[in-house]
């Protein structure tokens, strides 16, 4: 079972991602949710998810900053940057931080597939 941590400041987006994962089933489950970067770092330590679905633009700590903190402690952690703003600069920064999978929020229906691909790659 591949467990995912959903990190997004918007309640509806977290619910949408959860429902997408749960409806897709096929060995996917939701390990937990976090509304900000700080909560996400704490949740990683507590739940040890296989993958994190991480929003970038959040109040306080951004997704990329959160990823930098997490990867510094857990370099093997798999992360999908799930953002509505995936421009070239953001992709380059994500790559530099150590994130190798990015998905636009408008392609939320492709999220299960992206999770499996990431798990297979790992």
């Amino acid at each position: 079972m591949l467990r995912a941590l959903i990190v997004d400041d918007d309640t509806d987006m977290r619910f949408l991602v959860r429902m997408t994962i749960e409806v897709a089933n096929h060995g996917l489950s939701v390990a937990g949710e976090a509304a900000c970067g700080a909560d996400a770092i704490a949740a990683v330590e507590q739940d040890r998810p296989e993958v994190i679905v991480l929003d970038n633009r959040m109040p306080g700590m951004t997704g990329l900053e959160t990823a930098r903190h997490i990867l510094a402690e857990h370099p093997e952690q798999q992360i999908i940057l799930f953002s509505a703003y995936l421009d070239a600069q953001t992709l380059a920064e994500a790559h530099a931080v150590g994130i190798h999978a990015c998905l636009d929020k408008t392609d939320v229906d492709r999220l299960p597939e992206a999770l499996w691909q990431l798990a297979a790659g790992a």
Binding site: D12, M13, F15, L16, P59, G60
Partner: protein, 653 residues
């Protein structure tokens, strides 16, 4: 004024004029004197010739008389010959006085001894001979022969001479006997001896019995005539007058030169202030240098610059020297007002620019400041005014650039934020719709309803946001218009709360609505309540309580939204109503928002004639209090020409 090469200074001209006057006068005096001298010489020559002629004729007469027969001698009545002595050729015969008496104290033996040589010459030549001057008399000797004998030869005469007659001539009497002339004959130089005053010029020499007599004339007692002396005196007086005048002119010129030099120095100092003031836009850097120069040049004991502050009051921005406690008020020394500022009295000049007074320049002098100094200081004040104005313009421009840059950054941040705020609900709506479409059969009935509720909530949020943007755009172009009208405030608030329920999440909404009629605009009231309520939800914990109350409050109706969030810092309670302001608190950083909602709220409340304030809630959170006029108060009628009246319930569509 400096004299050029080869040119006379005014002083030199005066000296030259004085010299010319003196020289001309002297020349005239010399000419007159020369003329007078010629006249005097002519007169003296005539006098001398007259005296000499008389003396010559007298000498001839005397000689002939002495050499004549004895009877003629006896008849001699000449006063110039007081006595005649007879000396025999025979030594045994005593000397006799042929005619007398002898002058007192005169010894015949001494006369005879003094005349011995003359006696021998007279004996040998047969002509009268004069002996040297003895005791004031000249002995004139004549050798006497027997009457019947005539001996031409010397040997015969030595043998035949029986004796001698010695006539005693008084030169003093001779002089007294001369005719009166001017100048008079006053002395005789007789064969080396002197009789009378012989210091004057010689009139000539005659021979008296073979002895040379030089006639001496008196000195002329007037070397310069009165005319020459007067001319010379006038010339000298003229020269002195010229020199005195020159002294006065020189003194006046010296004073004028000193004043001119001081003025040049002061003008140069003021002229040098221009580049100095332009060297920097920092007044704190240039004003001390300017003050030192002016204080040094104009001997100022105090110098200060005052500028008009934001509230129109004069603020002293720089001062050199302490203020005199006796100073009551500065004298306005604007050119034309006064011509002089006494030492120790404080004066002031306005700093004028672009037709307005931007400050004052004040100063006190150690010495009196005259019109030229005040004019120079006035020029300095103009330069300081220009520099100050330039600094003011520069600072204003810098502030404007800074403000524009800040606004530009705010605009960028606003666009970025607002696009995110729009995209987030759109993404959620799109995702839920797609999930419903693709997974309809897999979803349970309650899940489908949940999805649709969330789609509805996001659509509502999107609508509220778009309404905010539209209102903000109207507010920016001053076209927001919300004319109030009487309404049941509690009922409208209740209606709005019902509409907003889907966006408030799990928070508990408590409505405490008392019936009250107030002046409000239905659309604007809806916008105000929606903004305050979504803000309260955004800044308060998920399961906290939000109390919405409506109540009459004295002359107003109060609508209050109280949350249990982190609250607003005291210093931010006014600023939260400014556009784009989102605060810097942890709560603000942890939420989204474009920073326009509360600015729209305040404008709408003002349009309805009310007020809105942020107050602390107890024990925590914020109370947003809106006060609106009661129905009894006359509704404001002012509307914007481009105004768009807000429509109630539009956000629910």
């Amino acid at each position: 004024m400096a004299a050029g090469r080869g040119r006379l200074t005014p002083g030199g001209t005066a000296v030259a004029a004085a010299l010319a006057v003196v020289l001309t006068g002297s020349a005239l005096a010399w000419f007159i004197s020369s003329y007078d001298e010629d006249q005097r010489e002519t007169s003296e020559s005539a006098s001398a010739a007259n005296a000499l002629g008389t003396l010559t004729r007298w000498a001839q007469g005397i000689t002939q008389t002495i050499a004549g027969p004895p009877e003629s001698l006896a008849a001699l009545q000449i006063a110039e010959i007081p006595a005649v002595i007879g000396v025999s050729a025979k030594p045994s015969v005593a000397t006799t006085v042929v005619r007398g008496p002898l002058p007192a104290g005169l010894d015949p033996a001494r006369v005879t001894a003094a005349s011995r040589t003359a006696m021998e010459v007279a004996r040998d030549t047969g002509t009268p001979q004069a002996a040297p001057l003895t005791d004031g008399f000249v002995p004139v000797v004549f050798a006497v022969l027997p009457p019947s004998r005539s001996t031409p030869g010397t040997a015969d005469r030595r043998r035949d001479v029986t004796g001698w007659r010695i006539a005693l001539l008084s030169p003093q009497r001779v002089l007294e006997g001369l005719p009166a002339t001017s100048p008079a004959a006053v002395g005789l130089r007789i064969d080396g001896a002197a009789s009378g005053d012989v210091s004057g010029p010689s009139a000539g020499t005659i021979l008296v019995a073979g002895q040379p007599w030089q006639l001496q004339m008196a000195r002329s007692d007037a070397p310069l005539s009165r005319g020459a002396l007067a001319t010379l005196a006038v010339a000298l007086l003229g020269g002195v007058v010229c020199l005195l005048s020159d002294l006065r002119v020189q003194r006046a010129l010296r004073v004028e030169r000193q004043a001119t030099a001081a003025l040049e120095r002061e003008t140069r100092t003021v002229a040098e202030l221009g580049p100095l003031l332009q060297s920097s836009l920092d007044l704190a850097e240039v004003l001390p240098a300017v003050a030192l120069r002016l204080a040094d040049e104009f001997a100022l004991s105090r110098f200060s610059v005052q500028l008009v502050g934001e509230h129109g009051h004069l603020l002293e921005v720089f001062a050199l020297g302490g203020r005199n406690p006796n100073d009551v008020e500065e004298v306005d020394v604007t050119p034309g007002n006064v011509d002089e500022l006494p030492a120790g009295v404080a004066g002031s000049l306005p700093l004028l620019r672009a037709g307005r007074t931007i400050g004052r320049m004040c100063f006190t002098g150690h010495r009196d400041l005259g019109h030229p100094q005040l004019a120079a200081l006035s020029a300095a004040s103009d330069l300081i005014a220009v520099a100050t104005y330039n600094v003011e313009l520069f600072e204003r421009e810098q502030a404007s650039v800074s403000r524009l840059r800040e606004l530009d950054q705010l605009k960028d941040a606003f666009l970025s934020t607002i696009s995110h705020e729009l995209r987030t609900p759109l993404t959620a709506i799109s995702g839920f719709i797609r999930l419903l479409r693709d997974r309809w059969d897999q979803l349970r009935e309650e899940q489908r309803k949940e999805f649709l509720e969330r789609v509805h909530g996001n659509t509502l949020s999107l609508g509220l946001l778009v309404d905010d943007l539209l209102d903000f755009a109207r507010l920016e172009r001053q076209a927001l218009n919300a004319p109030p009208s009487p309404m049941a405030l509690d009922q409208h608030v209740a209606k709005t709360l019902a509409q907003l329920e889907p966006v408030l999440g799990t928070r508990e909404i408590v409505a405490e609505l008392q019936p009250v009629r107030a002046l409000a605009n239905a659309g604007a009231l809806e916008r105000v309540i929606a903004n305050l309520l979504t803000n309260a939800a955004k800044f308060s914990p998920t399961d906290s309580r939000i109390v919405v109350s409506v109540r009459p409050d004295g002359d107003t109706a109060t609508v209050e939204v109280a949350d249990q969030g982190a609250g607003i810092a005291t210093e931010d309670r006014e600023r939260v109503f400014a556009r784009f302001y989102r605060g810097d608190s942890d709560a603000a950083r942890g939420t989204r928002g474009a920073g326009i909602g509360l600015s729209v709220v305040r404008e709408l409340v003002h349009q309805m004639g009310g007020t809105v304030v942020a107050l602390p809630n107890h024990p925590r959170g914020t109370r947003m209090v809106v006060r609106l006029p009661l129905e009894s108060v006359t509704a404001p009628t002012a509307t914007s020409p481009n105004g768009v009246q807000l429509q109630a319930e539009r956000s629910s569509t």
